[in-house]
């Protein structure tokens, strides 16, 4: 294949020549031998140099700018992934795994160029064991796709981060969601992983095909890779824990006069042993935004959105207990509903929150913060954060998974206003440090990605950092696996 050297190609070659003299990534991806080797593995259709394809694979749903890879490959099996990895390893080419591109921290930006492994063609539900409540899926299977596949079985996978993300991608970012308070996050629900390492070896973190509900065997490699954001290996299969679909669902809404009252209610509901499925908090700014966006008339004050799962009788008890608790905390307008349409109407504000926030300032972009603190510290951090927002003239309605102590400021900023972007950046740093000071974490569910590497160091401390660096060096001595993410390496 002869390639006409257009502007992009010249730029790429220049960049690679630059690399040759200044960086460790030695071989140009555009050497014919490498490209034809990729084609031999993935087929002629399985390798793309097209600009549009590369750009599509160089960005996610975060505010980080697009950093396209040099080439995108589309393997169809773990054997192909392994062969591609071996090839990249011998040519010192960075490897960036790509699921659905729905991440929020720039995890797929190819900051050092390299090869994007787009895993969307590996889309089999490999192994479902209904009686054991487990299923194994490939990276192309998304969570909505899996739940659709399971719809006749009475089972579901409840981790719900909002987007229709790849399940292996969710494992890679340790995703969570609105019903983590009852069903847990990916950390609690991944039983086993098949991972292709930087040198092409295929690892089964809990042993090939194994899926016991619990184990005490050896080091917990499965959870080492959960949340590793593509920096330790390419996840090619994940074995997940499934749950029974709830028999019945009730949704409820309740307003409060203060954040403290709303959070106190949350803590007491949890302490009362109510197995609440979702408990979401929206602040007054968010409620106002939702009223405007969806033409609703909620009271403009801190509001809790609750969802209960259970049997018909169990639900009555759950809702009754929760209602009493909210009333004892000066909650008002407690409304609840069971049929699907009414439930959707009640929760409309929560569902539209992202869009309602953006609609506050048309033409602006929305950026979501993601800190998590122990639940008892939530009132303090929210109050301080709201004061910070006002002081720094930032638009930031708040929505949070209050049962986990996790909340998001949906900051709406003008992408062309550098001064505002600077204020945003300083604000998010202050917020993260505020959370760290309250025994929390700088990222509850979105991951470290590109933007929080420095905060990670502050969060875990030097001893843990050294250990993480050591693990990275052991698994990926050449720093080929998604370079520039999670860890700041000394040589960068």
């Amino acid at each position: 294949m002869t390639v006409k050297l257009g502007v992009t190609m010249k730029r790429l070659l220049y960049r690679n020549c630059f690399k040759l003299t200044h960086c460790r990534y030695s071989t140009s991806v555009h050497q014919d031998s490498v490209l034809s080797a990729f084609r031999t593995i993935c087929g002629e259709d399985g390798v793309s140099l097209g600009q549009a394809v590369r750009e599509q694979h160089g960005k996610d749903e975060s505010v980080h700018r697009c950093r396209p890879p040099d080439v995108v490959v589309f393997p169809r099996s773990v054997e192909e992934v392994s062969a591609l990895a071996k090839l990249c390893h011998s040519h010192h080419l960075p490897i960036i795994p790509f699921g659905t591109g729905t991440g929020l921290e720039g995890g797929v930006s190819a900051v050092k160029g390299g090869v994007c492994f787009s895993l969307r063609n590996m889309e089999q539900v490999v192994d479902l064991h209904q009686e054991d409540f487990d299923v194994t899926v490939e990276p192309g299977v998304t969570r909505k796709g899996l739940n659709s596949y399971l719809r006749d079985t009475g089972l579901w996978f409840p981790v719900d981060p909002g987007a229709d993300a790849s399940l292996c991608g969710m494992a890679a970012t340790s995703a969570s969601g609105t019903n983590a308070v009852r069903y847990g996050t990916m950390r609690e629900n991944v039983l086993n992983l098949e991972v292709v390492l930087a040198d092409g070896s295929i690892l089964h973190t809990a042993g090939r095909g194994r899926r016991p509900r619990k184990t005490a065997a050896g080091y917990n490699l499965t959870n080492l890779f959960v949340g590793s954001e593509g920096t330790l290996g390419v996840i090619t299969k994940t074995t997940l824990r499934l749950y029974g679909l709830p028999e019945a669902v009730v949704s409820a809404v309740c307003s409060f006069s203060s954040v403290q009252d709303a959070v106190d209610s949350t803590v007491q509901i949890l302490q009362a042993g109510v197995p609440i499925a979702r408990i979401e908090f929206l602040d007054d700014v968010m409620m106002e935004a939702c009223n405007r966006f969806s033409g609703l008339s909620y009271p403009v004050s801190p509001t809790l959105f609750l969802e209960f799962h259970g049997s018909q009788q169990g639900l009555e008890e759950q809702v009754h207990t929760a209602e009493e608790i909210t009333q004892s905390n000066r909650g008002s307008d407690f409304q609840w509903a069971q049929d699907t349409q009414s439930r959707e109407r009640l929760w409309k504000a929560r569902h539209d929150a992202w869009y309602a926030a953006q609609a506050l300032r048309p033409g602006c972009k929305a950026y979501s913060t993601d800190v998590c603190v122990p639940v008892s510290r939530l009132p303090q951090i929210i109050v301080e954060t709201k004061e910070d927002l006002i002081e720094n003239r930032l638009t930031g309605p708040i929505a949070g998974h209050v049962g986990d102590g996790n909340f998001h400021c949906l900051l709406v900023v003008d992408p062309n206003d550098t001064e505002e972007l600077q204020r945003l950046h300083l604000f998010t740093d202050r917020l993260a440090r505020r959370a760290l000071a309250l025994d929390g974490t700088c990222t509850g569910e979105h991951g470290v990605g590109l933007g929080k590497r420095a905060l990670l160091c502050e969060e875990v401390g030097p001893v843990a950092m050294r250990l993480m660096q050591g693990l990275k060096k052991t698994l990926d001595p050449g720093n080929l696996m998604n370079p520039g993410k999670v860890l700041q390496l000394e040589t960068e």
Binding site: D152, G154, L155, W156, P246
Partner: protein, 254 residues
């Protein structure tokens, strides 16, 4: 209205599966491929169960025609709330050539035998897209039909049906007994939950042969061949309007 509802459910290849044509072009690959209840049949079952929950009907009976595997589909209907099932055994060549004409004869016979007041079907199946069974059954029974139903209300011994038509919505009133076919917006089918799946295992499925119902399964149709849609051809980019015009002339478009 306080009688029995019959719901037809068809086992089809799951909507999410990528269909492949057999190498001999005689049909599509079905071996080892995930099958599930036709989505419009799910909507039909949901509507029937809703009527029972509102105490407007006494019993919901799910019917399917085919080999042993269709019992899975009937079980799903039972898990959604149907009371019992009827499996009309059709297998082998008869099953391969089974189409709306034969199914409608079977449904008509069963509707009479079971003294049903209402028959609800999906508007069409996602494999053959025929959209004929409901209409043919109504004709055989000489019952009124409310097809493409997006809303159904019981008004005494009549049904008010809002139908989705090309121009918008049409509201009709039909006498019972009647045949309805369910359109997409009629309702959102419930998922079967584990406890209901457990309960469904105990519900009864009776087996019936088409000959018991006096139905002749001979098909009037013969499938000659099945082909994939033509591969999409790559487009061509041109630099100028003149190039565009000459290219359009070349391929006879202008």
């Amino acid at each position: 209205m306080s009688g029995r509802v019959l719901v037809g459910v068809k086992r089809v290849i799951d909507y999410a599966v990528k269909i492949r044509v057999k190498p001999d072009n005689s049909g599509v690959v079905t071996d080892g491929v995930k099958h599930s209840m036709n989505p419009f049949c799910e909507i039909a079952v949901e509507e029937a169960v809703k009527l029972k929950e509102k105490k407007l009907v006494k019993e919901v009976v799910a019917v399917s025609c085919g080999p042993q595997q269709v019992q899975e589909t009937i079980r799903t209907a039972l898990a959604m709330g149907a009371d019992r099932g009827i499996h009309v055994e059709v297998s082998g060549k008869d099953y391969e050539s089974l189409g709306p004409l034969q199914v409608s004869k079977i449904m008509a016979a069963l509707a009479k035998k079971e003294e049903a007041q209402l028959l609800i079907l999906g508007k069409q199946a996602i494999d053959d897209d025929c959209n004929q069974t409901g209409q043919m059954t109504a004709a055989l029974l000489d019952w009124p039909q409310g097809t493409f139903a997006s809303e159904v209300t019981v008004e005494g011994e009549k049904l008010k049906v809002v139908r989705e038509i090309d121009g918008g919505l049409e509201t009709i009133k039909i006498n019972l007994p009647a045949v309805l076919t369910a359109d997409l917006r009629l309702n959102t089918p419930r998922y079967a939950t584990l406890p209901n799946i457990m309960k469904a295992k105990k519900k009864k499925i009776t087996q019936v042969k088409p000959s018991d119902l006096g139905v002749d399964l001979t098909s009037r149709l013969q499938v000659l061949r099945v082909d994939e849609p033509p591969q999409r051809q790559a487009g061509v980019k041109v630099e100028t309007v003149d190039d565009l015009v000459s290219k359009l002339r070349e391929c006879g478009r202008i």
